[in-house]
C-alpha cells in the first residue's frame, strides 16, 4: 500500500481561492438561519451541512446538494460567521469542482435571443455572477458578436433582463411581457398602488402574507430582484392610470443578488431626477430598501404610500 495520502476532497476545495478556511467551521448554524434560501426556496438548503460534507469527503452528495447550486453569494452570512469563514467562497469552490466533474446547475436561467442581440455587452456588466459573455457566433448566416449565458453560473435574478436595451434577454416568469402584463389597473377608486417586491427583502412570512392581505387597490408584483425593475414599467404603470409605484428591495449590503439593490436604487433615483426636471416630481415612484431586521416595515411603507397617494389625488 502506498504511504502517500491522496488529495482529499477537502484538500481540493481548500486549494481553490475562497475555499481556504473550510475547516474552521464549528457548526454553529449561523449561516443557515441568516440565509433565506432554506426558508423560502429549498428545505434541503444548508451551507453548514455542505461544509461538513466536504470535510467528510462526501463528494457526490456535495455536488448534488442544492446548496452548491442555489447560493447566490450575497454574503449575508459571511459578516455574521463567528469563525469568519467566507462561506460563499467555499460553496463557490465546491461548485467549481462540480462543474469540472460534469454536474449541471438545476436552476432555470435566462436565455438570449441571438437574433435580437446587438452585442453591446451591457448584460455582461450587469450580471453579478459573470454568467454572460460576448462570443462570436454565426447568426442567420453571418458572424456576429452576441451574448451567451453560462447556465451554471446564472442564478436567474433578471438584472440583465432589465438592462438589455433590446429586450433580447428573458427568463420564463419574468420576461418583459409577463411582468408588464401584470400591470393591471384596479377598478377600485382608492389610491391605486403597484408594489414591485423582490423575493428576498421580506424575511418574515408574516410580512409576505400581510402584503397579500391588502385590498385590490394594492397590486403586488413579485420579481426575483429589485434590479429586475425597468423604469419603463413604472412609466407604463403611471400612464395606464396607476397612482403610485413602490419598489421594494434589500438593504444595501444585503441584496440577495449582490448588486441588484444598487442598480435599482440608481434607476429609481434617476427616474425621480427626471420627474423633477419635468416638474412632475411628486414622489409617486418610490424605492424602499428593507433590511433583515425591518420586520413589519412593509406595512409602514405601504400605508405611508397609500396615505400620500390619497392626499395627492385629493389635491389633483
Amino acid at each position: 500500500m502506498s504511504h502517500e495520502s491522496p488529495e482529499t476532497f477537502a484538500d481540493q476545495v481548500r486549494a481553490i481561492p475562497g475555499g481556504e478556511h473550510l475547516e474552521m467551521c464549528y457548526s454553529c448554524g449561523t449561516c443557515v438561519s441568516k440565509c433565506l434560501i432554506q426558508q423560502k426556496v429549498e428545505p434541503e438548503y444548508n451551507p453548514r451541512r455542505l461544509l461538513r460534507m466536504v470535510m467528510m469527503g462526501l463528494r457526490e452528495e456535495a455536488f448534488r446538494s442544492p446548496t452548491t447550486w442555489l447560493c447566490s453569494a450575497c454574503d449575508l452570512c459571511y459578516p455574521a460567521c463567528p469563525q469568519q469563514i467566507h462561506i460563499s467562497g467555499v460553496i463557490g469552490a465546491v461548485k467549481q469542482l462540480a462543474i469540472e466533474a460534469g454536474y449541471e446547475s438545476p436552476l432555470e436561467t435566462v436565455s438570449v435571443d441571438e437574433t435580437l442581440c446587438s452585442g453591446c455587452g451591457i448584460c455582461v456588466m450587469a450580471c453579478p455572477y459573470e454568467a454572460l459573455h460576448l462570443v462570436e457566433k454565426e447568426i442567420e448566416g453571418e458572424m456576429d458578436l452576441v451574448s451567451e449565458v453560462d447556465a451554471n453560473k446564472c442564478l436567474g435574478c433578471g438584472i440583465c433582463v432589465a438592462a438589455c436595451p433590446l429586450g433580447a434577454i428573458s427568463r420564463p416568469g419574468i420576461s418583459n411581457q409577463e411582468v408588464v402584463a401584470q400591470i393591471e389597473v384596479p377598478t377600485d377608486g382608492a389610491p391605486r398602488l403597484i408594489t414591485f417586491v423582490c423575493d428576498w427583502c421580506l424575511r418574515a412570512d408574516d410580512d409576505v402574507s400581510l402584503l397579500e392581505s391588502y385590498p385590490d387597490n394594492v397590486r403586488v408584483i413579485h420579481i426575483p430582484c429589485s434590479g429586475r425593475i425597468d423604469p419603463q414599467m413604472a412609466l407604463l404603470a403611471l400612464r395606464s392610470g396607476i397612482d403610485g409605484v413602490l419598489v421594494c428591495g434589500c438593504a444595501p449590503g444585503e441584496c440577495h443578488y449582490k448588486r441588484g439593490t444598487y442598480v435599482s436604487s440608481c434607476k429609481i433615483s434617476l427616474l425621480n431626477r427626471m420627474f423633477d426636471q419635468m416638474n412632475v416630481g411628486d414622489g409617486r415612484v418610490r424605492f424602499v430598501q428593507i433590511g433583515t431586521q425591518d420586520r413589519g416595515c412593509i406595512r409602514t411603507e405601504v400605508d405611508a404610500m397609500l396615505e400620500y397617494l390619497a392626499a395627492w389625488k385629493e389635491a389633483q
Binding site: 464549528y26 457548526s27 454553529c28 448554524g29 449561523t30 449561516c31 443557515v32 438561519s33 441568516k34 432554506q38 426558508q39 428545505p43 444548508n46 453548514r48 451541512r49 452570512c77 459578516p79 455574521a80 463567528p82 469563525q83 469568519q84 424575511r203 418574515a204 433583515t292 431586521q293 420586520r295 413589519g296 416595515c297 409602514t300
Partner: protein
C-alpha cells in the same frame, strides 16, 4: 469583604487608584490616589439620611442603569465600608445633605484627593473582567429592541435586592415574560470580537434558567448554544437538572433577532441543528449571555504595574503552565479573571494561590533571580563622563536602569530580567550581560564560522521562541540543511548589530535573525527592540547591495518547528541560487564596510582574548583537517 475589612492585618482601601509603582520585588513603593468622597469615612455611619433628602437622581451603574441612584449615595447596599459619596458632576450644591447629616458633620465639600506613598513587599492584581457590550452586534438588536437584555440586566431584574425587587419584567411594558430565550456566546467564540470561550457562561445560563424556572414555573425558557461546556465537578449534573426541569436547549447560534413593532415581541432566527431546519421562534424577552472581556483600563494598569498582556488584553502570566500566578515582573501576582476568564471556584483557587505566592516574598530575607543580568562597565559609560545618554534605560522593558547625568548608569539587579536589550543598544559597549557577554558570543560566532563560512547559515535564536522552534524541528524530524549553525541568546533584543556585522565580516553565507512573535515576547517589549534593529539592518544591507535573503528576519514561536525548518531551507535555496564566485566576490566587496562597523567591538573588555582563543581554535581545526 466585611471579614477582610475587619481583619487587623488587612487594610482595605476602596475608591483608591494606584498611580505609580516604583521599586522592585520585596521593596515596592506604591503611590495611591485616595479619591475624595466628600464624606469622612470615620464620621459617616451609613444611615442614609443624606440620600433621602438629595433631590438629584443619576443612573445607577451597579443596577446597569435600570434604576437611579442619588447624587449622594452608596454604590450598593453591601458596600464596604458603608460610607456615602458624592457624585460631584451631578451635585447641584443645594447642601440639603449637609443639613440632614447634622451633628455627625460627615460631609465636607472642600475635601480633596489624597496622594499617599505606601511601602509594600508584593502586589496582587485582581482587577477582574468587564461584560462585553452587545450593542456592537447589530444582528441581536441590543439597544434597539427594548426586550433584548443582557445577562447582567436579568441578574439585577431577578435579584430580590434589585430595582424590581426580584420581579422579572419586560422593559417595554413591565409585564412578566412568559417566553424567555437565552443566547449564549454573545461576543465570545467570535473572531469578529473575542475569539475566546468565556468559560463560565454555559453554567451561568443554566443557573439563571434554573433560578427563573423556580421563580416562574410556567415560564418557557430556551437556551440557544453552540456547545454546552460543563467540564468541572458537578457541572454536567447541573445541566441534567435543568433539562429535567423542562428548560429547552437548542443547538444553533441565532443569526438574527427581529421585533414585532407592535407587540415588541422578539423573533429569534436560528438553525435547530438537531432538526437541520431553520426555526423562527417568538419570545417575550431575550437574554444575551455576553462575553467576558478585559477591563477597559487594562492598558493603564499594565503600564503602571509594568506587566504585559496576552493577546486580547488579559494580563500575561510568567508561564502558562508552570507559573500561571506570577506576572513577568517579580513580586507582582495575578488572581482571577484579569489573567484570563475563569469561574468562581477557579478564581478563588487562584486568589488563594496568589496570596501564598505573595506571602513567600514577604517572608523571604533574600530573593533569588535569574543570573543572566546586565552589568555596567562604569568606566566606559558616557553618562559617568557627564554626557547625556540614557539609551539603555529607554531600551529596558522593566525600568531596571537608572541614569543620572554625571554618574554611570545603574542597573537595579533585582528588577533586571536579563533580556540583554540594553547591552545591544548601548552605543559605547558599556554594558555587558552575565553569561552572554560580547566576548562569549563573538567567540561563538568565530567558532561557528571557522570553516568555509560562505556555506554557513548563522542563525541567531532567542531562548524562548525560535530556539524552541529549532528544537521542535529537531524532535519532530523536520529536515533542514546541515549548513545551519545556531547561536542562542535570551532575546532578540540581545542580537547586537555588531554580531551581524562580524558574522558577515567573517564571510558568513547568510544570517538569520529570529525571535518571538511580537505578542509572545517573554520580556514584554524585548522583541520590539530587536525588530526595530533588524529593520534598520535590512535597510543598511540593501543599500550596501547585499543579495536579498542573505540577511533574513523571522519571528518563529516555539511551536513552529515546521516554520523554522522551512525558513532555513529557503535560506539555503537563496544561497544555492547565488553562483559561488559571485558570493565570494560579494563577501569580499562588503568586508571592509562590515569591518568598519564592527571595529569598536574589539575595544570591549575580554573580547580580544576571546578572539585570540577563537583564532587558536580555527588554527587547530585547519591543522586537523590538513
Amino acid at each position: 469583604m466585611v471579614d477582610a475589612a475587619r481583619h487587623p492585618k488587612v487594610d482595605v482601601r476602596t475608591y483608591t487608584e494606584v498611580e505609580r509603582v516604583d521599586g522592585f520585588v520585596g521593596n515596592f513603593k506604591v503611590l495611591l490616589r485616595e479619591k475624595s468622597r466628600y464624606v469622612y469615612e470615620d464620621r459617616c455611619n451609613g444611615c442614609g439620611d443624606c440620600a433621602k433628602v438629595c433631590p438629584i437622581e443619576v443612573p445607577n451603574y451597579f443596577e446597569v442603569n435600570l434604576a437611579p441612584r442619588k447624587a449622594i449615595d452608596v454604590p450598593m447596599s453591601q458596600a464596604v465600608p458603608l460610607v456615602y459619596n458624592i457624585d460631584l458632576d451631578a451635585c447641584i450644591h443645594c447642601y440639603k445633605c449637609v443639613e440632614a447629616c447634622g451633628k455627625l458633620d460627615a460631609i465636607d465639600f472642600s475635601m480633596e484627593d489624597k496622594l499617599v506613598w505606601e511601602d509594600v513587599g508584593s502586589i496582587i492584581v485582581a482587577t477582574g473582567y468587564a461584560p462585553f457590550d452587545p450593542s456592537v452586534m447589530p444582528e441581536y438588536g441590543y439597544g434597539r429592541f427594548p426586550n433584548v437584555v443582557t445577562a447582567i440586566e436579568v441578574e439585577r431584574l431577578g435579584n430580590s435586592a434589585g430595582p424590581t425587587a426580584g420581579n422579572l419584567i419586560r422593559p417595554s411594558d413591565g409585564t412578566n415574560p412568559r417566553r424567555l430565550a437565552i443566547i449564549n456566546c454573545v461576543g465570545s467564540r467570535d473572531k469578529r470580537f473575542n475569539p475566546w470561550c468565556s468559560n463560565f457562561c454555559c453554567m451561568y445560563a443554566i443557573k439563571n434558567a434554573i433560578l427563573l424556572k423556580q421563580a416562574y414555573p410556567d415560564m418557557d425558557i430556551t437556551i440557544y448554544y453552540i456547545d454546552i461546556r460543563t467540564p468541572s465537578k458537578g457541572y454536567e449534573e447541573f445541566y441534567d437538572r435543568a433539562r429535567e426541569m423542562g428548560i429547552h436547549f437548542i443547538q444553533g447560534r441565532p443569526s438574527l433577532i427581529t421585533e414585532d413593532p407592535e407587540t415588541r415581541n422578539l423573533f429569534v432566527h436560528s438553525e435547530d441543528m438537531s432538526l437541520g431546519h431553520v426555526i423562527e421562534r417568538e419570545y417575550d424577552m431575550v437574554m444575551l449571555n455576553q462575553a467576558a472581556v478585559p477591563q477597559p483600563d487594562v492598558d493603564t494598569v499594565s503600564s503602571v504595574l509594568n506587566i504585559s498582556q496576552s493577546p486580547g488584553g488579559w494580563f500575561m502570566e510568567y508561564h502558562p503552565k508552570l507559573r500561571p500566578i506570577d506576572s513577568p515582573t517579580d513580586g507582582i501576582f495575578l488572581a482571577g479573571a484579569c489573567q484570563g476568564v475563569k469561574d468562581i471556584p477557579a478564581s478563588v483557587a487562584q486568589g488563594s494561590a496568589a496570596a501564598a505566592r505573595a506571602g513567600r516574598v514577604l517572608h523571604a530575607e533574600e530573593w533569588e533571580i535569574e543570573p543572566a543580568v546586565a552589568v555596567v562597565w562604569e568606566d566606559r559609560c558616557v553618562s559617568a563622563k557627564g554626557k547625556k545618554c540614557g539609551i539603555c534605560a529607554e531600551a529596558c522593558p522593566y525600568n531596571a536602569i537608572e541614569v543620572e547625568q554625571g554618574k554611570a548608569a545603574h542597573v537595579i539587579t533585582a528588577k533586571c530580567h536579563g533580556c540583554g536589550g540594553c547591552v545591544a543598544e548601548c552605543p559605547h559597549n558599556a554594558i555587558s550581560q552575565m553569561h552572554f557577554t560580547d566576548a562569549q558570543i563573538l567567540a561563538q560566532i568565530h567558532a561557528l564560522l571557522a570553516d568555509r563560512p560562505e556555506e554557513k547559515i548563522l542563525a541567531f535564536r532567542c531562548h524562548w521562541c525560535s530556539y524552541g522552534g529549532a528544537d521542535l524541528a529537531g524532535t519532530s524530524h523536520f529536515e533542514y540543511t546541515s549548513n545551519e549553525r545556531g547561536l542562542r541568546v535570551m532575546c532578540s533584543a540581545r542580537m547586537d548589530a555588531d554580531f551581524i556585522y562580524e558574522a558577515f565580516r567573517l564571510g558568513a553565507g547568510a544570517v538569520l535573525y529570529s525571535g518571538c512573535h511580537p505578542q509572545d515576547c517573554h520580556y514584554i517589549t524585548g522583541q520590539r527592540i530587536g525588530a526595530h534593529r533588524a529593520e534598520r539592518l535590512l535597510k543598511q544591507f540593501e543599500k550596501m547591495g547585499m543579495t536579498p535573503g542573505r540577511f533574513r528576519v523571522e519571528w518563529i514561536s516555539a511551536a513552529e518547528g515546521d516554520k523554522y525548518a522551512r525558513v532555513i531551507n529557503e535560506m539555503q535555496a537563496t544561497l544555492d541560487a547565488i553562483p559561488k564566485e559571485q558570493l565570494l566576490e560579494e563577501i569580499e566587496r562588503l568586508r571592509p564596510r562590515m569591518e568598519k562597523r564592527a571595529r569598536r567591538m574589539r575595544e570591549v573588555p575580554q573580547v580580544g582574548e576571546a578572539l585570540e582563543y577563537a583564532g587558536e581554535l580555527k588554527a587547530a581545526i585547519a591543522e586537523r583537517k590538513a
